[in-house]
């Protein structure tokens, strides 16, 4: 089982009261409230956290990126990945991920990732995402072609990594008359690609068709099981049997040396007014053309304030009860995580450990306890439950490298 440490890298030094007054804390929330002195301190603290995490036994770092919002300071995950590639030694560097539709030049992205893979000596997992709607708006990229660009950029990047250059690419959204990046990845046939997501079925189906592991981001246990049902069905239709090596799960887990402190810090998971990405207008998160047409009717009602957020805004207590937020000492948390692993059987597990205004000292305590106690215990439980991760299983990095494909009857049950 592969267990990773994750944080959104919160820009906690911002005036939340002003966000509440203007009614939003994303996209259009003015960057005049960004304090680069605090930003400099926080970036360096977060870098130190990863280095410390590796010293404490953490075997994977999950990195992501977002734009125009205090909930996440990391505006380009390849930058932290590059630094960590040089200053750490063993931990996997898992990007979940680069928002492909935002790039105007996927070949350049393929080069950056190849460099990071070589500098890290093959520790890179360059996961890919569509990017939220706000990311499209922040980058000025057309949300209506988000999925088309995601798939075509993916195809081009994989081609740049695996096809001998020079070759020519005449796509719908990308045209390159010479594709011949000098730098190619160290890992062969190419680094593992994982695909995180929350809602859209199209992405789950696409990931299953590629045989890429799907990482459920902070979804409830019930929602996660539904994701696996869909993934498993598509896998069968595609000709393989999905297992733990295809499943990843990210959850919010804060550990501390006392229950009280752990609970106080875990409440920081709701620090952006309980919203994943802060307060935002629904049409920023879901610009027209970005979301699945099947959701259109429900969404427009929500967008004009006539319907509740389809994701809901559960309270802290509700999220704890639903098994979305965990806190405690290693002793109390490990049994809870065992139940999650038993129920959902992922082989990739991201621990979103720290958020909001958790102090540097408490964040380091959390990382130490995760690295020394929680993660080793989870790896043991993983062994016991047969949760073999893609590295241990030597799983094919893409469907096309499968050696076990068979045509399964659709109604196999």
């Amino acid at each position: 089982m592969h267990v990773m440490y994750f944080t959104e890298q919160p820009m906690s030094a911002y005036p939340a009261n002003i966000g509440l007054e203007v009614g939003h804390t994303a996209l259009m929330f003015s960057n005049k409230y960004f304090d680069p002195v605090a930003g400099s301190r926080l970036y360096n603290e977060y870098l130190e956290h990863y280095i410390y995490a590796e010293e404490q036994g953490v075997e994977g770092f999950m990195l992501n990126e977002h734009h125009n919002a205090p909930f996440c300071m990391q505006a380009k995950c390849n930058i932290f990945a590059s630094i960590l590639a040089a200053v750490t030694k063993k931990a996997k560097i898992v990007l979940l991920g680069n928002p492909l539709p935002l790039t105007e030049n996927p070949v350049r992205l393929a080069e950056e990732l190849a460099m990071i893979d070589m500098i890290s000596k093959g520790r890179l997992v360059p996961g890919i995402v569509r990017g939220g709607g706000q990311e499209s708006l922040a980058a000025g990229v057309n949300p209506a072609y988000n999925r088309e660009r995601f798939q075509e950029a993916h195809d081009l990047i994989v081609a740049a990594w695996t096809r001998e250059g020079p070759f020519r690419w005449e796509g719908t959204h990308y045209q390159h008359r010479v594709v011949n990046p000098w730098a190619v990845p160290l890992q062969k046939p190419h680094p593992r690609i994982w695909v995180p997501g929350v809602l859209s079925q199209e992405t789950i189906i696409w990931a299953a068709q590629q045989r890429y592991p799907y990482i459920a981001l902070n979804t409830s246990i019930e929602a996660t099981k539904k994701i696996w049902e869909l993934y498993d069905r598509v896998a069968l239709e595609t000709g393989y049997v999905a297992g733990p090596e295809n499943r990843g799960y990210l959850q919010q887990v804060h550990v501390s040396d006392s229950e009280e402190k752990a609970e106080k810090n875990a409440r920081q998971f709701l620090w952006m007014q309980g919203e994943f990405t802060g307060l935002a207008h629904p049409v920023w998160s879901n610009p027209s053309g970005y979301f699945s047409p099947s959701l259109r009717r429900n969404f427009v009602e929500f967008a004009v304030g006539r319907a509740e957020n389809p994701r809901g805004r559960p309270t802290f207590e509700q999220q704890v009860a639903d098994g979305r937020v965990f806190f405690g000492t290693p002793k109390t948390v490990i049994p809870k995580l065992r139940r999650v692993l038993e129920e959902t059987r992922p082989s990739i597990y991201g621990i979103w450990g720290n958020d909001g205004t958790v102090s540097n000292e408490d964040a380091r305590t959390c990382i130490r306890l995760l690295g020394q106690e929680v993660m080793p215990a989870m790896r043991e439980i993983g062994k016991e439950l047969g949760l073999t991760d893609p590295f241990e299983a030597n799983a094919p990095v893409h469907l096309r490298y499968s050696t076990d494909l068979k045509q399964m009857p659709q109604a196999a049950e």
């Binding site: 057309n142 072609y145 207008h281 027209s288 259109r296 009717r297 427009v300 004009v304 304030g305």
Partner: protein, 259 residues
């Protein structure tokens, strides 16, 4: 008042266009806003009492299916040239409303001698020298539609209590606008140079309180078109056609009749 609107679907250039038509006289092609168009409007009826009025739904808007290939507003302008050819219509007057004004301007540049008159009402298509075209991507569907009106009661008169069907239609319209006019947003940087070739006399109309397209864009249209004048309509926002339909129909009617 005109009655007897006929509706049909015209299939051409890979598009299925919904077309409403009424009246007789000189042909007038009315090109609607980016928020689509209600089926009937007093402005359309007023025109149809004197002219042969054609109101298509833009491809991908309203009742016209989305052609997946469409990538630019010029594509839409070309489709409408084909539509006029298909229907055997010559010397039409183009009336472009807001976003439809951009389409009309593109059509006029493509066939400089073809059109009888060009009427641009709060037209998009040019980068305003002063101010920006309002970005619908950051506001809700209702807020964007409301911003097109000077008087919110006029909005209510046209749209009433906005239904879910209307919201869905606005979302589809918005998606289509993003597909063809995302960047640059709602203008064509080469249009200013090309407008100088247009020979059709042009009337540029702007609502005094247009919050969607700055009036500076109207002034620029009037400057760049070789035979144009600018009229400002009081007590109207961007959607002059819905807010002051009689006044706009009078202005347009007189302009079409001018020698």
């Amino acid at each position: 008042m005109a009655t007897g609107w006929g509706e049909r679907v015209v299939e051409l250039t890979g598009a299925k266009l919904h077309l409403a038509r009424a009246g007789s006289g000189r042909p007038v092609l009315v090109l609607h806003h980016d928020i689509g168009s209600p089926d009937r409007l007093p402005f359309y009826d007023a025109l149809a009492s004197r002219f042969d009025v054609l109101v298509p739904h833009h491809p991908g808007y309203g009742k016209s299916e989305r052609p997946q290939y469409l990538r630019s507003v010029r594509d839409v302008a070309v489709i409408y040239q084909s539509l006029l050819a298909e229907l055997g219509i010559e010397r039409a007057t183009l009336i472009g409303l807001g976003f439809g004004g951009w389409i009309a301007a593109e059509m006029a540049t493509m066939a400089p001698r073809e059109f009888h008159r060009l009427v641009l009402v709060g037209a998009m298509g040019l980068k305003p020298p002063d101010g920006d075209i309002f970005d619908q991507a950051i506001v809700s569907y209702i807020d964007y539609a409301c911003a097109g009106f000077h008087d919110q009661q006029a909005f209510a008169k046209v749209y009433g209590d906005v239904t879910t069907d209307q919201l869905v239609e606005w979302d589809l319209c918005r998606e289509m606008s993003f597909r063809i006019a995302w960047k640059p947003y709602m203008y064509n940087p080469t249009l200013p140079q090309l407008l100088g070739g247009v020979r059709a006399p042009a009337l540029v109309v702007w609502g005094e309180d247009d919050k969607i397209v700055p009036r500076s864009a109207g002034e620029r249209y009037a400057d760049l078109l070789r035979n144009a004048r600018l009229e400002i309509v009081r007590a109207a926002g961007h959607c002059v056609d819905m807010e002051q339909p009689e006044q706009l129909a009078r202005l347009v009617g007189a302009f079409i009749d001018e020698n």
